[in-house]
Symmetry: C2
Subunit: 157 residues, 2 copies
Amino acid sequence: KKRVVSGVACDLNTAKAVILGVPDEPGVAQQVFLSLAQANINIDMIIQSMMRRDRNDIAFTVAEADLPQVIEIMERVAAKLGAEGVAHDAKVAKISIVGAGMISHPGTAATMFGALGDAGINIEMISTSEIKISCLIQEADAKRALEAIHERFHLDA
Amino acid sequence: KKRVVSGVACDLNTAKAVILGVPDEPGVAQQVFLSLAQANINIDMIIQSMMRRDRNDIAFTVAEADLPQVIEIMERVAAKLGAEGVAHDAKVAKISIVGAGMISHPGTAATMFGALGDAGINIEMISTSEIKISCLIQEADAKRALEAIHERFHLDA
Ligand SMILES: C[C@@H](O)[C@H](N)C(=O)O
Ligand SMILES: C[C@@H](O)[C@H](N)C(=O)O
């Protein structure tokens, strides 16, 4: 019987950075990521949702070791763009479930979020692809999150 | 010479839905996606960023044909959760660049955002994985977006 979810991964080395309240207009995302690229910062996830105003936040994750430099760059970019600020957290973890064809199984995300929710773990950010669902949580919750997901998806067998 | 970006794809059949201002606490994401799974709705992208308050928005994309049912479900869930509302847009398009090993080339996202920004196209939402960078834009901008990205990444050759 083929598994929909083949495994769960946990990245404790992840840090989150967010540039807050940038003008929501063409060319802004380009400026943010050009400045990071020029500093040779490897970006893992980029997450931007929509907002109900003319400003937006752009969040992304990097290796923890890069966070100090990222904060410095983002504060410069924020000043240049007239953004509202920069937020960051080194103490996050990225929990991901992976599996081929997950996207055609509507219950998979609900099951993962259910494992975390039932364990009392808050999901701070969510990003998905066809083969991966990633949740950003607090590092302190990572161990319990892994156990909860292993159990919910019967990954121990 | 190996290309970092192997292609660009455009999904015009995408629609966006967002449940707005849900309590940012454990168990909420589970309730949202369980209700969608029970209706057998296939979810493409899920995007949730962080917010500076105790509420959050959860955005996701579905096939356009599913949007009416999704809105109905989301309004029920929003009422049950005491959420602030539901937003949706059928007239969005998902533009994605794909390529193996994109994530280790810091300039790739900046280049894609630059192609769109220089074409005056607003990026409404962003979601990434190791092999794909996806931007949600207005459907009306899709043709120009494809051309701009083809040109910037020299994909016509
Ligand atoms: C916020 C940022 O993504 C902006 N909408 C842009 O297109 O660059
Ligand atoms: C907003 C929603 O994702 C919530 N934080 C949860 O964990 O379910």
